[in-house]
Symmetry: C2
Subunit: 304 residues, 2 copies
């Protein structure tokens, strides 16, 4: 069976990351990078993003190797978006040290006719304006529309974000974001409140504690895939989203609870790989066997 | 089959609890109360504890109704141990407002010959000296010896506690305790370090995020049973321990990973009931059907 077509709107960045044990400079980051590589093991991802002229062959290589379709990538004169951050010892908070939007500043995606049709779209973390612009250009509406967001947009672009959320099937948020978005401290209530904004499914990412799946009829918390020594948690949420959406992009009854849970398992496992290295290094070098082995291990761990 | 005999060393107390939404005064609390009632659905629990002369018929009633054997309970002239605490909105921290040891102050359990033989013993949270005294009197050694502890004993009675831990099969700790005990911030490493102190199994209780099971060969995180609106989380850990040990007290191959996970499921579900009311009210009024229904629901939620 041909792999499903998955459009991914998001950022491609150069990251400077400092953890308590090590650091990395100028490595590939951004929501579309992590999500695209994670999804590539299950679907045919096509990032809709912008890079600068400093994004060269060695940066393109890992995407190409993973079969990520870069034909919708815009290359703009200037420098690629950069982000610098440092983490505390438990990776609970990423402290942003610097953000340079560079070519991202005036980016407005215009899709070619051939890029407007996809089985699924993942509106990964970028501004709601860009997410909306991408969704508006898709025709027909993909069978599965998922979006992620962050505290910045909830704070500054709430109206735009709420309009977008109304149109998506799956909303990804972390604990702090769902509380901020809904004003509910209690996560179950917050998840249910977020459902009322429109999405059929809300997935609350719980970092080291897995994730919570909330639908109108189902509620369950899924554990993490335990990683003894995370090296860098940057992109964990993007990889989770990419794995989840990638896995479900080709599944007809994707909203079936069994399939949703399998999607969560795929996302959880992809996130577990992502945090074992800086950047997309570990994530981009996996074999299907390694992935299936972790998914089986995860499922077996849950069997009681 | 006759139910297994389970000795539970711990406290019986009168609690004053204040949460963000309600309060309760002079209600039954204490580690042996919660653990005993939780275990009563799976085994024959016999608390080894002390109460004052103010512990009267109405306090005894719920234990009797649940078939908890109170024949090893010591009644001492004076007042029962009391504890007053308040919780913040997410039940993350219980702030102790007052502790009156009362009859507990000079308590030293002396077991009658008939109380020295049991299938299992749960050394619930009391001082390591008392836990050790109880364990020393058991003969033959029960097939399953489990213990719980808290920050106070780790800080003040470390040497005694370490000696005790060496002799137990199962150690229950929460996140803060296992970090304090081992000096490892990373929970997986902390769990593995705690294993080296002697127990075959370390269970790290993660509060709203379930628990982590660590053995020499296995490592898995089990999710919580989600409760939308916890009323009072006092005794959740004790109920978890009581459910776990009660469930496994009568299981020959209790150390088998499948059985351990079923024990965790039983403990998780008992904790979920415990937090739905103040005191042991909800926990003491359950039907076996309600419990089995939650255990099935929990297991089904995990099936992918």
């Amino acid at each position: 069976m041909a792999k499903a077509k998955l459009l991914i709107a998001g950022s491609i960045a150069f990251d400077d990351i400092k953890t308590q044990r090590a650091r990395a400079k100028g490595v590939i980051g951004g929501s579309a990078s992590y999500a695209g590589i994670a999804a590539s093991y299950f679907a045919l991802p096509k990032p809709v993003a912008v890079v600068g002229t400093d994004f060269c062959a060695k940066h393109i290589a890992p995407f190409k190797k993973r079969g990520v379709d870069l034909s919708a990538l815009e290359v703009k004169k200037g420098r690629t978006f950069t982000w610098a951050a440092s983490y505390d010892k438990d990776f609970k908070t990423a402290r942003t040290l610097a953000t340079h939007l560079n070519v991202f500043e005036n980016f407005m995606p215009v899709l070619k006719a051939r890029d407007r049709r996809a089985d699924a779209v993942f509106l990964a973390n970028i501004s709601p304006a860009l997410q909306t612009a991408v969704l508006d250009q898709l025709s027909p509406r993909p069978r599965l529309v998922a979006c992620d967001t962050m505290n910045l947009w909830i704070e500054r672009n709430r109206a735009e974000l709420m309009k977008l959320i109304k149109r998506v099937d799956v909303l990804f948020v972390n604990e702090a974001e769902v509380r901020q978005l809904t004003g509910n401290y209690n996560l179950i209530k917050a998840g249910r409140a977020a459902l009322k904004y429109g999405p059929r499914i809300v997935i609350i990412k719980l970092g080291p504690n897995g994730s919570m799946l909330v639908t109108k009829t189902e509620l369950c918390q899924m554990p993490p895939f335990l990683v003894e020594e995370p090296l860098d948690t940057t992109g964990a949420g993007d990889s989770f989203g990419g794995g989840f959406v990638g896995f479900l992009a080709g599944v007809r009854n994707w909203a079936d609870i069994k399939n949703l849970k399998r999607g969560v398992a795929a996302g959880t496992v992809m996130a577990s790989f992502a945090i074992e290295s800086f950047s997309i290094t570990r994530l981009a070098g996996l074999s299907k066997k390694e992935i299936n082995s972790r998914i089986s291990q995860y499922a077996a761990g849950l069997r009681i």
